[in-house]
Amino acid sequence: MTPQNSGAPVTRPEPDAPAGLAAPTSHRARLSEWIDRRAGTFFIMPAVVMILIFSIFPLVASLVMSVSRIRLRAGGYKVSFVGTKNFEKQLFGSEQFHFLGTFREISLLGWVVMVLAALVLVWWLYRYVRSQFWWLGFIGRLITANLAFAIVALAATTLLSGNNFGTLGTTLFYVFVGCSIQFIIGLGLALLCSQQIRGRNFFRVVFFIPLMVTPIGIGYAFRMLADTTKGPFSIVWQWVGLGDFAWSTSAWAARSFIIIGDSWQWIPFIFVILLAACENIPRDFVEAAEVDGASQRQIFLEITWPQILPVAVTVMLIRMIEAFKIVDLPNIMTSGGPGIATESMSLHSLFAWRSLDLGQSAAISYLLLFVTVVVCVSFFNIIVLQRVRQT
């Protein structure tokens, strides 16, 4: 009894209608015929019901939780409606330092960056309005532009003015910096492996292995490796003179440490798919170009890159979606520390849940959902659809 119920098969050829055979008589035959006529419903219904129960219902329940205050009482919960207080606390109130960061007077560099970002965004919107205009598209772009400006302003008031940013900034750092590094290395490895080299299958299998290690395991393994006194590289650390240095006490070191672990795990995913894309390029194209005397750089820019671009964009979209959810690595490697420097939004929400602050936890996770949706949809619209429109 869901929307798809009215979606009876429309174009399906009725198997026994044209033949005009005798109508099935037995009860069982009639039942199987009835099922077959409704096959469309039966095929899709399990998936729809599962998603409704385990995905849509929790989503709504979480929304309700994010606007209420939940207190544990003997034998149950006490829920009271508080409106947007949970969100206000995160964005403007006492939790602001944790979520957004500590604000300070904006430095000159911060002002310059902010003004530049505003100009670019206004120009981008103006160009859209001049070239084509559709009110829904405009509203979508307005949301994107506002969020982008908010992020730049956040960076300007915290990072560029010499202060700490909160979990939002950390998450975006993981997503953008981490994904870029992973894409560049993954693409490089895929290009190397698509050359005529020996042992390609060996490298393919070996490079795929990190994806199969549990993220928790990766977290602990990298903690062992990074130990400056007992880890395998401690000799190097002593030699450089950083023997007493601990990764977990410096914010930027800890963040880059987590990105290294994340990259170790996810580069294989990008690598495998981009390698398949590279191998899908017809061999004749490349050979013809080589005969014509094209340089390697030209071959890459003119043949390989345009051919793998659609795959690359989709892979990056998938990777970004997953990167926003990062929680295991910061939890294991640094437990969010030093302070809140490596805490991602998922981890922030998890910590709030652990301290039984369910309303705050739901509010943070909703903010995460909002940022994820806007960033991913913008990425999809601006890059993927742009390309579709051009061709």
Partner: protein, 357 residues
């Protein structure tokens, strides 16, 4: 003078001889050296953490806590104490977690591939036209039900049943009046977009739901949750796969009187085997390694391996690196074995078909 003649080669500078192509389709020597060294460096980077975990699992406690030791038998004596502790002394916990992980990963992968490929096949072949109004009606009735539960304290079973009944009656009566409908593309997008949902958003309500149903800390709870979490991936990958399969065979089977289900089971699924293999492997890896949802939903009975890994961080005794390494190694083995079995499907670029965009 051709490029491959000895005179030409002699006249070239060293750089040109090393890096400029001498023969079409063959790499120059210098480039080869660079390519292989890059690949070897990356291989070391990939394998070293795993090697370190492996040797840590054979180290004595003193050897782990002492300075770095790299080579077994040369700078430390390997011992089996951690393996013994996990598989002889404390074998019950380990084996329970291992069996839990296997049962949950296998069952959820199976269920997920089944449901997901059925939905993907249906979306690729059958045209759906759910009316926009019907969907809105459903949403409204569910919202009313949740308000009734939330504000007036009505039992949720009764509220849901009443809401569904009202929806069914109204939909039957009103469906002819609705004109606008959504298409297959919209349903597909709706299903795939569920992947964007961060698990933290849904995990607390799911926890409460299983608490209500008394299913907390059971296999079923984790199986169902993992199935839904991975469903979008299956639908996405398999949809593109089914679209690329020609329709002719199915149509002729249907003319011969086969039902949709028979067609799907006996013709379409066997043809989609490579895609199914790659998708299954991916979903399996995700379910096998999942941590956050397991942390919420399972406490002791349904504890999975990732939770066991985290449990080795045992408070006052510090982190039991040796035992943890054993668990990590034990967790990698089945997945690598499976990946090697399914390797040809992955390398054929089956995943690629779906990601072409």
């Amino acid at each position: 003078m051709t490029k491959s003649s000895p005179d030409y080669q002699a006249n070239q500078s060293l750089y040109a001889r090393l890096f400029e192509p001498q023969v079409i389709g063959k790499m120059p020597v210098g480039t080869q050296i660079l390519v292989y060294s890059a690949l070897v460096i990356w291989t070391l980077f990939v394998l070293f953490p795993i090697y370190w975990v492996l040797i840590t699992s054979f180290k004595d406690i003193a050897d782990v806590n002492g300075g770095p030791y790299f080579l077994p038998w040369i700078d430390f004596t390997p011992s089996l104490h951690a393996w013994k502790e996990l598989f002889v002394v404390d074998y019950e916990d380990t084996l329970t977690a291992y069996m839990n992980s296997i049962i949950i990963a296998l069952a959820s992968t199976l269920l997920c591939s089944m449901i997901g490929s059925m939905a993907a096949y249906a979306l690729a072949r059958i045209e759906y036209k759910p009316k926009f109004g019907t969907i809105a009606l459903f949403v409204v009735s569910m919202i009313l039900a949740s308000i009734a539960v939330g504000s007036y304290g009505i039992d949720w079973k009764i509220a849901v049943a009443v809401a569904l009944a009202i929806f069914a009656l109204m939909a039957r009566g009103l469906s002819r009046r609705f004109t606008r409908s959504v298409g297959n593309g919209d349903i597909l997008f709706w299903m795939i977009s569920q992947r964007i949902l961060p698990p933290v958003v849904v995990v607390v309500p799911i926890y409460m739901m299983f608490q209500q149903l008394h299913l907390l800390d059971t296999h079923i709870a984790l199986i169902l949750t993992y199935t839904v979490v991975n469903l979008p991936i299956v639908v996405w990958l398999m949809y593109d796969f089914f679209v690329s399969i020609p329709k002719d065979l199915e149509e002729s089977a249907q003319l011969d009187g086969a039902t949709r289900f028979t067609t799907f089971w006996e013709i379409v699924l066997p043809m989609a085997r490579p895609g199914l293999a790659a998708t299954t492997l991916l979903v399996m890896i995700l379910a096998w390694n999942e941590y956050l949802l397991a942390l919420f939903i399972s406490t002791s009975n349904a504890q999975t391996m990732p939770i066991l890994v985290a449990a080795m961080n045992a408070g006052e005794r510090g982190i039991l690196w040796w035992s943890m390494s054993v668990v990590i190694i034990v967790m990698i083995i089945p997945v690598v074995a499976m990946a090697i079995v399914l390797q040809r499907f992955i390398s054929k670029g089956v995943l690629l078909g779906a990601v072409k965009g």
